[in-house]
Amino acid sequence: MQQTAWLLSLALMLLVAFGFTFVALKSGRRADDYAPLQARAYRIRTRLFWALVLVLGPAMIFSLLDLPYGASHAHAKASGLQALVVEAKGYQWRWELSHNRVPIGQTVEFHVTSADINHGFAIYDPEMHLVAQTQAMPGYTNKLNYTFSQPGVYKVLCLEYCGIAHHNMMTEIKVGSL
């Protein structure tokens, strides 16, 4: 997902850069009569508008089809086993997990909350890539479903600034029979 977001952003930013560079290069010689230029530019703008609608509209709707909210998420992808519930609680500045060892292929339902202030419960894979997250908030329990497909030592980092030891607020989850 991160790679897609990066490449897509880069491509769109380059398109914008192309538009601005093209116009800057074509800005030197003045066309005295602005009216026909303006009329042509409006026609192009209408096409640009509909192109954006046709590209962004489906992308916006398609990306809404698999939301991380609600208990149903990820269950379809799981092996059919009942979800394993892991209670996760954030404290300044440590994590408390009811289990720190989980199996591969079984959906894990993290019940995430906080004992004090806002924290961010973020799961990093063994290569330190972020795979899922939710906020840990006092007074609320956010349910995050995730099905681990690769064995290894995963890390939980805090991704909501919580004070002087925020960057040290980490723990581990062992996945599979390590």
């Binding site: 800005s27 954006l52 925020h166």
Partner: protein
């Protein structure tokens, strides 16, 4: 009814108050940029200041940058808006005075009281410091923000009064008779439309911000007055999102006013323009849940609304304002100097930064990118290469000697250094976000450090270029206040 002809307008120098705003903004901007550079160097392990200093500087950097963005944006808006409506100079100066009082309170809170709860002051962190700062330090910080907010409320109330006095009501000032009826060509000028939008959203946002600050101040001394943490977060992000976005909508007035003078082509408030500003008025206020996409307890319909509006919000930026700049510059014969270059590139910065921003606002992307360095990656693009470039462009325009003077070699180097430096700096953030590097970490993992080192180099370039812009502006302050034509006329137009 469309008028293709440009009607030239007198070019006014800046009022003393506007110059005071700009000097304040420039000084604080430079200081906060230096803090930002130090933070990057700390993450890059080039220096070693420790987490306490890092988070204190982070808190100052956030609060300071948001504050001066507001001040600089207000200076641009006030300078041009007063050419259409009758604004109060006393209120304008009072806002700056309150801002300076707030700044002193915040500096004291952080530097003397060690407050480092970030500019977002998320409840209940200010009152739960684990002994790292006192109740008084937290109160001073939130009180400082409140004082600054009160100043801006006064300013926007005065703007609202002046607009209503001239146009009758906000609907007319937003050009609704022309938008929803026949376009008789008499819609208010873009400056008035933009100022009306900013006034509506900022007054709403500031009232919400002041409410949560007051609630948290009460909670600080009366802990039994508990606040729902999710409600507090929603209120803080509503206020924060609206305020920082409004700074761009104020600063873009410089583009609407100055670029037409260079191209001798009008930037008209036609139906598309009016529709986009009315849409932006609503979208800026209803998009804020995109900051809360990882708060699963927030109502899902609001999160989906944040996702959807994130996509819709790119339309006015790309199709109306960004495209509008391309239209009036294309084959215009524009003479490129520092002011026209900066104003043109500022719209590129705004539009380019909006791309990774709306992608981040996609819920499934946010699941793996929220609160990574992807976020400062996109907002630094549209704030630094967008909003700040607009303000530098305005300052450069005010400081021009005459219509003919070309830029020095140093001036051109500053422009390209700023542009390349900002792009390198923000792309290093975005790439780090792609690599899942966490945001707001005083110390980075060894595998993240190379990106920080590259980012530090580009950040140093941005600071150096900004220093040149600011020195140039300060050395020309005397000229900035005088009334004379500054915009270089396009090639092929009569002098």
């Amino acid at each position: 009814m469309t008028n293709h002809n440009y009607a030239s307008k007198p070019e006014h120098g800046a009022d003393f108050g506007v110059l005071a705003y700009l000097v304040t903004a420039a000084a604080v901007l430079l200081l906060m940029m230096s803090f930002g550079l130090l933070m990057r160097m700390e993450q890059a392990q080039i220096i070693n200041m420790g987490p306490m200093w890092f988070y204190q500087l982070m808190t100052l950097h956030g609060a300071g940058m948001v504050g001066i963005a507001g001040i600089a944006g207000a200076a641009v808006m006030w300078h041009f808006l007063r050419q259409y409506v009758d604004l109060s100079k006393g209120i304008f100066v009072a806002n700056l005075a309150l801002f300076l009082v707030g700044v002193v309170m915040i500096l004291a809170s952080v530097l003397l009281g060690n407050f480092h709860g970030a500019w977002t002051f998320l409840y209940p962190m200010p009152s739960k410091s684990m002994g790292m700062w006192s109740q008084e330090a937290a109160a001073l910080f939130m009180g400082g923000l409140l004082v600054i907010g009160v100043g801006f409320v006064l300013l926007h109330l005065d703007v609202a009064r002046a607009i209503v006095a001239r146009y009758g009501n906000f609907a007319r000032a937003l050009g609704w008779p022309q938008l929803f009826g026949k376009d008789d060509g008499n819609a208010p000028p873009p400056t008035v439309v933009a100022s009306t939008m900013v006034t509506i959203v900022n007054l709403t946002g500031l009232v919400v911000g002041a409410s949560i600050l007051t609630m948290m101040l009460v909670n600080l001394y009366v802990p039994s007055f508990a606040i729902d943490a999710l409600l507090a977060k929603g209120m803080i992000y509503f206020f924060g999102h609206v305020f920082i976005n409004a700074t761009i909508y104020m600063a873009v007035i410089a583009v609407y006013e100055i670029l037409p003078r260079y191209t001798q082509r009008p930037w008209k408030a036609n139906k598309i323009f009016l529709a986009s500003w009315t849409a932006s008025t609503l979208m800026v206020m209803f998009i804020f849940p995109h900051h809360l996409l990882m708060d699963f307890a927030f109502p899902t319909w609001m999160l989906v609304m944040g996702h959807v509006i994130g996509y819709l919000n790119t339309f006015p930026i790309l199709v109306v304002t960004g495209y509008g700049a391309l239209m009036i510059v294309y084959r215009s014969g524009i003479r490129w100097d520092m002011a026209s270059r900066l104003l043109f590139v500022s719209l590129f910065g705004w539009a380019a930064g909006a791309m990774p921003a709306f992608i981040d606002g996609t819920i499934t992307v946010n699941l793996v990118m929220h609160n990574t360095l992807w976020v400062p990656g996109h907002f630094h693009t549209y704030l630094l290469l967008g909003m700040v470039a607009m303000v530098f462009g305005f300052m450069s325009y005010l400081g021009k000697r005459d219509q003919q003077t070309d830029d020095s070699l140093l001036g051109r180097a500053a422009f390209w250094g700023f542009t390349a430096g900002t792009l390198g700096f923000t792309l290093s953030f975005l790439y780090s976000g792609k690599e899942s590097v966490a945001r707001r970490y005083a110390a980075h993992l060894p595998e993240w450090v190379p990106y920080d080192r590259i980012g530090s180099l580009f950040a140093a370039l941005v600071v150096a270029a900004s220093l040149l812009f600011i020195i140039r502006f300060l050395s020309r302050l005397g000229r900035a206040g005088r009334d004379f034509p500054r915009a270089s006329l396009a090639h092929g137009t009569a002098l």
